[in-house]
Amino acid sequence: MMRSLLPLILIGTLALIPTARAQQDPGKQVVGKIKVEVYHATDGDPKVAGKHALEVDKNLAERLKREKQTCFKHYCLLGSDTKELYRSYENWAEPVKPSDEIMVRFEAQSAPSSDSATLDLELWLGRKKIVKTDINLSIGKPLWVRGPTWRQGHLIISVSLLSIESQSP
């Protein structure tokens, strides 16, 4: 009796494994968080950025000034967006929403480590893909893209890895 049931038990067990896995869809697992910010950097009058623009943190301003390519007298925060980094799905950050003038598309290229993630990342300006890169982002070490000119200054798009989520197998 027992022997006759064994094939049925085996087939049933094996059939349940892929079904359960498919229901979970591991691709939707959040593996980290990505923050995209847009700064207006200028040596001129910072007020041209607009009355709603926020002054950036002094530590951040000092840090930006340490790099020659991003060194300006004034920095204003124009917009910010924080989005989940999925295991296999792409995601879009729209830091100046509702404007779609600046958008960042990103997706994980491999499994993140404890403090870094390798991404496929694209910067879209004015509905055009301007640059695509594969970059390893570490927590605390952002990517700054010195972009187009705007109102007597430059736009700097900052992409930073905020956190890495603990991953279940």
Binding site: H40, I130, K132, T133, W150, P169
Partner: protein, 194 residues
């Protein structure tokens, strides 16, 4: 001169299974080949010998008798109260556990296969220090800088069209609601290109 028969016809002739015109044709050919006539005689003798040793037909034993013998053997075995030896017990339990062990092994193999990560998904495997840059827009140039002083990676874009001053990013950018549909994970269809 008669043409020699093919192998199949010759075999049928040796077995005395040819008839009529075909038999006459092969007989005429065999008359010039005494070795074939001798071979047919040998086959005939073998056939006679075999038929004398074996009965033409044998009826199988009565099925009732056969089944009765099996039932009798079962009754005899069941009637004996001989204890099962330890080795016999071991063998029977081994037979029972072998399929279970095979099942467990297969499930374990499936699970391990699902858990093993491909080489390209090993953390840090593709983490290169210098990112690749692809610039699809004509006239745009991009440079990559690793800024140790600022502890940041910097990409400098040159040749990008200036954004018109009329564009006001700050109108609503800092005060907006978050939409879940913005990612492909929340949508069945891919996110459309902006």
């Amino acid at each position: 001169m008669n043409a020699p028969p093919d192998d199949n016809t010759l075999t049928l002739w040796l077995d005395d299974e040819l008839e009529g015109e075909q038999l006459a044709r092969v007989d005429a050919w065999a008359a010039e080949h005494p070795e074939q006539l001798k071979a047919r005689e040998q086959v005939r003798e073998w056939r006679k010998l075999i038929s004398s040793c074996l009965p033409a037909a044998e009826e199988p034993p009565a099925p009732e008798f056969f089944n009765e013998r099996i039932h009798h053997a079962i009754r005899e075995t069941a009637g004996k109260t001989q204890p099962i030896s330890l080795s016999a017990k071991r063998n029977s339990s081994r037979i029972l556990w072998m399929p279970l062990a095979a099942c467990a092994g297969m499930i374990l193999a499936f699970w391990l296969g699902a858990m093993v990560q491909p080489a390209d998904s090993i953390p840090g495997a593709s983490a290169n220090s210098k990112p690749n840059l692809y610039i699809p827009e004509a006239g745009v140039d991009a440079r990559w800088i690793s800024s140790h002083d600022a502890s940041a990676t910097v990409i400098v874009l040159d040749g990008v069209s200036a954004i018109p001053d009329e564009v006001d990013f700050t109108a609503m950018a800092l005060h907006r609601a978050r939409r879940e549909i913005d990612s492909t994970a929340a949508s069945e269809s891919p996110t459309p290109n902006p």
